[in-house]
């Protein structure tokens, strides 16, 4: 640390024009710091607010945490609320996001591989259909999906939330583009000459080479399903099936009029942010977001 600072100082001493010193470039740095504060401070404030009891919430200095045990009181109140239904909501969110994420990644990976590496009857038209479906707003389909499933009495269960989210045209598109670039024909041909079946080539060559795209698609789908609100909102009646988003919304509706319940909602907001934030920030280097911006690099 000190040696770097020293080197910086030495270099600064050796330079003359102030605009081109090898020191910190302040303008972009300050822009980034302001951006980071804008994004992080609200979360930090929720953390501080969650340490306060309801009375303290309205009476103490807003940016100062409280150490009188309010945090544990709030957490206890949250997790014992309505016989511990908050834990059930969290579990449901995990079921929806992990289950839907894994299944939709398998569906997209398989379809993307088939469309990217094979020509077969109808393959062109299927791909055109998928590209067209990318433009179709999935969220706006939630209510038609509800109406159709309701006609067959298939709403208000786990499947009614997972099934409509299993096919993502955008994910299939990404997997197709990636398969074309990442699975070379030569390797497939070599595997064929060695007597590998098409199925085996897919399983032991194709799917491995596509792994970076599959991880990205899984994370995108996971976040999409975790954050989804409208679909469970229309599909589900019983609060035992709610995901976190819907549960917290319900909690807010119930407690909306009474300021006495705010601390429970604040604790719930904190609990639903922190695990996911840690998960995604730690997984960030496995993301290949450049896939989305179209530049496929392997």
């Amino acid at each position: 640390m000190t040696s770097i600072q020293l080197r910086g100082r030495l270099k600064r001493a050796g330079e003359h024009t102030p605009g081109s010193t090898r020191t910190v470039n302040w303008v972009p740095t300050i822009i980034l710091i302001i951006g980071a504060l804008y994004c992080v401070l609200p979360v930090l404030w929720i953390l501080i607010a969650s340490t306060k009891t309801n009375d303290q919430l309205f009476s103490t200095a807003t940016f100062l945490p409280s150490f009188t045990g309010g945090f544990w009181t709030n957490m206890q109140a949250l997790f014992s609320y309505n016989h511990g239904i908050f834990g059930q909501w969290a579990l449901n969110s995990v079921i929806y996001a992990v289950g839907g994420g894994v299944l939709s990644t398998i569906v997209a990976g398989a379809a993307g591989y088939a469309l990217g590496k094979y020509r077969f009857f109808g393959s062109k038209w299927i791909f055109r259909l998928i590209v067209a479906a990318v433009l179709l707003p999935q969220i706006m389909l939630a209510i038609p999906q509800f109406l159709l499933l309701a006609k067959f009495g298939m709403t208000n269960n786990y499947a009614s939330v997972i099934l409509p989210q299993l096919v993502s045209p955008f994910a299939i598109y990404l997997c197709k583009i990636y398969a074309e670039a990442a699975v070379p024909d030569e390797i497939m041909e070599a595997a064929r000459i060695d007597g590998g079946s098409e199925w085996r080539i897919f399983w032991s060559v194709g799917s491995r080479l596509m792994m970076p795209a599959l991880v990205t698609v899984f994370l995108l789908q996971f976040i999409g399903i975790w954050n989804n609100f409208l679909l469970p909102f229309v599909m589900l009646n019983s609060d035992q099936l709610y995901p976190l988003t819907l549960g917290l919304y319900g909690l807010m509706i119930i407690t909306g009029g009474q300021a006495a319940q705010y601390s429970i909602v604040i604790a719930g907001v904190l609990v639903s942010i922190v695990p996911l934030a840690i998960l995604f920030l730690s997984l960030q280097r496995y993301w290949k977001i450049d896939l989305i911006s179209g530049g496929v690099k392997i």
Binding site: W45, I143, K151, V167
Partner: protein
């Protein structure tokens, strides 16, 4: 046609191998789940909604009209009802206001942050990139509750006691702010990867010619990432049309938000609260057409800009 036997055998084997590749049932098997799911959960609901949008309930039979209601052909009456309802246009207008504030803000800040991350000798790059990306992991509903407490006069740390964040004008900025907060980091990462994928020798040449950091960012990097910016704009416009989570969640706190505040809220209220699934379907379908149309327009404008830049 005197082909030696081994050669023929070889050709035959090759043809067979070729056929195997073309005729293998594996690709059909792999693509089938996606196609079936797409048909069942995207195409079928869309068609069903179109079908419903041309129907309405008629109570028939019995002198007093006490028979069971029946679905009968309604023609375009549901569409006429939607399009002639001033509240539909008001909800579209409110959404438009949010889009006009939010989309340029998202693109501007995402680009600004992306170029700042790529600037030479900028510090704290790793930390700030993670920090700005963080809200993407926060669901829209949770983000709205979080900001709701920041806006709420009783708990606000940002002057909610003096500024009316839930007032008839303030509410537009409040809702937009929640939406921008949630997506700016994701768009920043998309644009940043686009900047990073540019060949560095482009900037070195400009630097040798005496171009400043700012000039390089604005004159070289910015035009070259125009295609990625177009895509970000497309996502943002589609996102604005689908606005639902933020206003719905803020509604219990803000009286200014009605149950038909934005188009998707209106569809929900129509279909799930008022049980008018026919009118709701018609509104839904009008919105889908609007979104797809707008997506195509943004795409065309983007291509034109990109085409002009590359000339």
């Amino acid at each position: 046609m005197a082909i030696a036997a081994p050669a023929r055998a070889h050709t035959q084997a090759k043809v067979q191998a070729h056929r195997k590749k073309r005729g293998s049932s594996l690709p059909v098997f792999l693509v089938a789940p996606a196609v079936v799911l797409l048909l069942l959960f995207t195409i079928a609901p869309a068609i069903y909604a179109i079908d419903l949008s041309f129907l309405h309930l008629k109570i028939s039979g019995g002198l007093l009209g006490t028979g069971t209601p029946q679905e009968v052909w309604a023609g375009f009456s549901n569409y006429i009802a939607t399009l002639s309802d001033p509240e539909f246009w008001h909800s579209l207008g409110r959404m438009l206001i949010i889009a006009v504030i939010g989309v340029p803000a998202t693109i501007f800040f995402a680009t600004l942050f992306a170029l700042s991350l790529d600037a030479k000798r900028a510090r704290l790059v790793g930390f700030t990139r993670l920090a700005i990306f963080l809200p993407y992991a926060v669901p829209g509903v949770v983000a709205s509750l979080l900001w709701g407490f920041l806006y709420l006069p009783a708990t606000s740390p940002i002057g909610g006691q003096f500024i009316n964040y839930f007032g008839s004008t303030g509410i537009f900025f409040s809702v937009t702010n929640v939406a921008v907060w949630g997506v700016v980091g994701f768009n920043m990462v998309i644009l940043y990867t686009a900047v990073r994928s540019l060949p560095p020798d482009l900037f070195e040449a400009a630097e040798l010619d005496g171009a400043s950091e700012l000039q390089i960012a604005l004159r070289i990097k910015l035009p070259l990432i125009a295609p990625a910016i177009t895509m970000v704009a497309l996502f943002s416009v589609i996102g604005a049309l689908q606005l639902f989570n933020e206003p719905t969640t803020l509604k219990p706190l803000a009286n200014a938000i009605t149950s038909t505040w934005v188009p998707l809220m209106r569809v929900y209220t129509q279909a799930n609260v008022n049980n008018d699934i026919y009118g709701g379907s018609a509104t839904s379908f009008v919105l889908i057409i609007l979104t797809v149309g707008l997506a195509i327009v943004v795409n065309l404008i983007g291509r034109r800009i990109v085409g002009r830049e590359s000339k």
